[in-house]
Amino acid sequence: MAVSQLAAKPATMAQALTRAMRDAMAEDPTVHVMGEDVGTLGGVFRITDGLAKEFGEDRCTDTPLAEAGILGAAVGMAMYGLRPVVEMQFDAFAYPAFEQLISHVARMRNRTRGAMPLPITIRVPYGGGIGGVEHHSDSSEAYYVATPGLTVVTPATVEDAYGLLRASIASDDPVVFLEPKRLYWSKAAWSPDAPAEVPGIGRAVVRRPGTGATLITYGPSLPVCLEAAEAAREEGWDLEVLDLRSLVPFDEETVVAAVRRTGRAVVVHEANGFGGPGAEIAARITERCFHHLEAPVLRVTGLDIPYPPPMLEKHHLPGVDRILDAVARLQWEN
């Protein structure tokens, strides 16, 4: 269980991520950060800012521009006892590394019957809403969660950004750490005197209690769901908002308990709906909560299209209105 140690001043998610890597590197000399632009520049989002200066270029390394090479080299480094933290810069830039990820990173523990675990953290800034051009806004989590052997987490709050990244780096298994890039500049006040307890990987958290229906979400859609829950009060709907935090392992018990409590559920994410994580979650809820459900489990997701150009992305991303429409379809009158 990681404990946040950030200074008692408003910190952004970006700063929390930087601090997580910094603290991990200071505590454990085997932690190495690597990727394109992570050194001198501090990353295109400045998430690795200052790490090369503090720990040297051998610990925070600007690599050649080659994602398969970056992740493949990280595999070899992990084989030799290091804990690489790899940056993929943008969601769609990770695709060249998929063969390494799926054929080796995810399977090495299994292939060697536990003799060769790979403690690699793969940081992937993901999702839209920042006006990025093509290949800069994908939500690729369905690919990752469909691959046995990978742990997949995504923070939605500043504290989780710190705590989940610390937990990911400490994990003996490879972790795909999805960073909601449009939340990089979201803020929270943290105090090192009263450090927040951050639940570990695999635990979902209720961010807003409610009794009428449960919105199940993660990452960049959490603030949207919280906003929708506020707006729903005008309709007389008391919505609960559940933040999954970790897609694999999936905290089924917390989800099931919440849905049994409210009897209604809407899963919200930016990734495409067809074959998306919401399909799995909805199926699990149906299997375990069928007799508790007042209505079918609904999904509000990104459209089933390649990520649209930035001037049209507002039509793709699940927004408050689309979420409220879904909630309205939960047959409240019955």
């Binding site: 190495h32 051998d58 690599t63 050649p64 080659a66 398969a68 090479g69 992740l71 493949g72 080299a73 990280a74 595999v75 070899g76 480094m77 992990a78 084989m79 030799y80 006892g81 290091l82 690489p84 060249p96 063969e99 390494q100 054929s103 080796h104 399977r107 090495m108 523990r109 299994n110 292939r111 060697t112 019957r113 536990g114 003799a115 060769m116 675990p117 046995p148 052997g149 742990t151 994990s171 003996d172 298994d173 695999g202 694999v248 392992p249 999936f250 089924e252 018990e253």
Partner: protein, 379 residues
């Protein structure tokens, strides 16, 4: 001058074109270039300097390796191995790669390189686990410092680079030797690995066994490069061309590259020109894509015969040595046969054991389901 002050179209007449700023290549390419002829020792004056003890060991390993290939192929016919990619004709590369490494070094084999793993000390049965089908890797890679046999092409090369780089960062004296075939050199991971290795000056040696074919596709359709060794120059590392059937030459070229890597001189790309005498695997029909004349020409350049002839002529090897080598090979083959004929005992519950350090809820559910199925079967 700032960007805003740059002269554009219709700029003032005071602008005078200047030559571009001085540019120099980072490295002199000439010393990186391979010699056009593959390096040979056996049958040349260079054979005067052969180390008798090393050569006798190479001979015994070559004989054992040839027997291992024959035994493994026989096991596929008996259904004891799902598949076996033979290295008959390529034994010199396999043996030299294994013998050239120190104990602390690492070997990164492809799926075809079981023989190198066995020559490095791995138990022959453990080396065949992947091909037998009872598990993916039958050994702890740390024990002999042999990475898992890699089935995807060239994807183990960046692992070798990363491991060698990590070892150097830790101040350890470790060299990684990564093996790949001619087809693998077309893969993206080959490029990325060589580029990383050269930029990082990682202590890695890349050994390409050019055995003529990637399954059925001949080298001429695989690459337009003069030789595969020429590819090294583009990355800024030396490329070396060697006769892959001449174990003394392969060993010498590898030893030189390993020494350079060990002393901080960075990576080397070695192309060993050899030939796959048998088909790609037992599932392949090589007569569809090559003629007997070509195979026979290579049979006349057999790595075991080449060495035996040279060593016998020089009095380094006699009939009793050859007999002893054959007897040792038979002993190995008999033990392998016996162990492989025993049915492996598998525990299906192992399927859930090593997916994650800690099982997920899904896996616990599915493990319970399988356990119930197994119990129902035994009732």
């Amino acid at each position: 001058m700032t960007v805003q002050e740059l002269p554009g179209a219709g700029a003032s007449s005071s602008y005078r074109p200047t030559p571009p700023p001085a540019w120099r290549p980072r490295k002199d390419a000439a010393p990186l270039l391979p010699d056009p002829e593959p390096y040979r020792v056996l049958g040349t004056p260079a054979a005067e300097k052969l180390d008798p003890e090393l050569m006798r060991r190479c001979h015994a390993e070559l004989v054992r390796g040839r027997r291992y290939n024959a035994q493994a192929t026989a096991l596929t016919r008996q259904g004891r191995l799902a598949v076996y990619p033979s290295t008959v004709g390529q034994e010199a590369c396999e043996i030299a790669a294994a013998l050239v490494l120190e104990e602390q070094d690492w070997l990164f084999p492809s799926y075809r390189d079981t023989l190198a793993a066995v020559a490095r000390g791995l138990d022959p049965v453990q080396a065949l686990t992947l091909l037998r089908g009872d598990w993916h890797t039958g050994y702890d890679p740390h024990e002999h410092r042999i990475a898992p046999l890699c089935t995807p092409l060239a994807t183990q090369l960046p692992h070798a680079v990363g491991l060698a780089h990590a070892a150097r960062l830790r101040g350890d004296d470790v060299v990684a030797l990564a093996m790949v075939g001619d087809g693998g050199t077309s893969e993206g991971d080959f490029h990325e690995a060589l580029n990383f290795a050269a930029v990082w000056q990682a202590p890695v040696v890349f050994l390409v066994q050019n055995n003529g074919f990637a399954i059925s596709v001949p080298l001429a359709k695989q690459t337009a490069a003069p030789t595969l060794a020429h590819k090294a120059v583009g990355y800024g590392m030396p490329g070396r061309l060697v006769d892959g059937n001449d174990v003394a030459a392969v060993y010498e070229v590898l030893a030189e590259a390993v020494a350079r890597a060990r002393s901080g001189g960075g990576p080397t790309l070695i192309e060993a020109v050899t030939y796959r005498i048998e088909a790609h695997t037992n599932a392949d029909d090589a007569t569809r894509y090559r003629g007997d004349a070509e195979v026979e020409a290579w049979l006349a350049h057999d790595p075991v015969q080449l060495l035996e002839h040279e060593l016998t002529a020089r009095g380094i090897l006699d009939e009793s040595d050859i007999r002893a080598a054959k007897e040792a090979a038979e002993t190995m083959a008999a033990a392998l046969r016996e162990q492989m004929n025993a049915d492996p005992v598998l525990n299906p519950m192992d399927l859930f054991e090593h997916v994650y350090a800690e099982q997920t809820g899904y896996l616990r559910e599915q493990a319970a389901m399988l356990r119930a199925e197994l119990e129902a079967e035994t009732e």
